[in-house]
């Protein structure tokens, strides 16, 4: 039985797809058979972030509608073993994902994979609710910024009331907080909410803190998940988060301002 993990946030543009790609890749690198599913019908982007956009022939909706089999639609990642991708449909209407259809696909995948990572669309509408409905665990991606934190709290409310686990009175979805685009220097200057501020407000366990990093844009430009960039702080922070997701207790890094040498300060070079 696969573990189903939804990557969600409420607010758009906080790094859900970047996180889905990184965490999914990280799990596969640890030897777990993993599939990442893009639930953002109409606005598919996971394929671009994963660098497999030219290999998409059939998508999630094709499988639900019986127009293609899962084996036809699932794309095997070329860089990472054990990693597979199921793209979202580009043109169909938002109602294309039905609960029965999604259930059928997840059931079929469940026997074949260790982890199913569901990349949720933004918002709290049907698409987002469908992505989280069947989840066992949730990664709530939050920027240290007021609107993102508020929307994350709303998504937590939906996880606790509208998921399958909630409706059937089962053990609740295990929630993880992932803070992205964190800038310790601005936190020091009192310009940005700190990790503990966000933890205080949302009150869920912290999975990881991903520092703001130029590597994230570079990675998406190239269609390679940022976790593969082991030199980058963001890549390392995602690797740590994957370890924690798998149960390891390791300390958080990159929470404090990196000490710069004299020349770096003088020239304003950024890491």
């Amino acid at each position: 039985m696969a573990k189903i993990i939804v990557v969600t946030s409420g607010k758009g543009g906080v790094g859900k797809t970047t996180t889905s790609a990184a965490i999914g890749t990280g799990l596969a690198m640890q030897g777990h058979r993993t599939i990442i599913i893009d639930f953002d019908v109409g606005l598919r982007n996971l394929d671009l972030i994963m660098g497999c956009e030219r290999r998409v022939v059939y998508d999630f909706v094709n499988v639900i509608n019986g127009e293609a089999s899962l084996s036809q639609a699932v794309i095997k990642d070329k860089r990472t073993d054990n990693l597979y991708i199921l793209a979202a449909s580009q043109t169909r209407d938002k109602d294309a994902l039905t609960q029965e259809g999604v259930q059928k696909v997840l059931d079929e995948l469940s026997t074949n994979y260790d982890f199913i990572v569901c990349d949720s669309p933004a918002g709290i509408e049907k698409g987002a609710q469908m992505a989280l409905y069947f989840a066992d665990e949730a990664i709530v991606v939050t920027n240290p910024e007021v609107s993102s934190v508020r929307d994350s709290d709303r998504i937590l409310g939906i996880l606790q009331s509208k998921s399958k686990r909630a409706e059937q009175g089962k053990e609740p979805i295990k929630e993880h907080l992932l803070i992205t685009r964190y800038n310790p220097s601005r936190v020091n200057d009192g310009e940005m909410l700190s990790v503990s501020d966000v933890e205080d407000i949302l009150a869920i366990p912290l999975l990881g803190v991903i520092p703001e990093s130029e590597a994230v844009l570079k990675a998406s430009n190239q269609g390679a998940p940022v976790i593969l960039d082991s030199q980058a702080t963001a890549g390392q922070a995602y690797s740590d988060a994957v370890q924690r997701l798998l149960g390891d207790e390791i300390g958080h890094r990159f929470l404090n301002v990196e000490k710069k040498g004299f020349f770096k300060r003088l020239l304003g070079a950024s890491a």
Partner: protein
Amino acid sequence: MSIFDYFRSKKTGNTAAAAKERLQIIVAHERGQRKQPDYIPQMQQEILDVIRKYVKVDQDDVSVQLDDSNNCSVLELNITLPD
């Protein structure tokens, strides 16, 4: 941070503290609403309509709150009448 930044004055106050305070208030408020039954907004509207038949009041002048403590639920209705 370049050499030029040292000449700029740092006068932005602690805006993060303001953000935290605002968030704590709004999140607590929204969590309270979440626990309310679904019929509360409609009931509030209907109560407001009845009051409006007699007095001129705004939407904001009526607050309906349902508090659940132990096994006792209290429906609190607060109407600010105009002078």
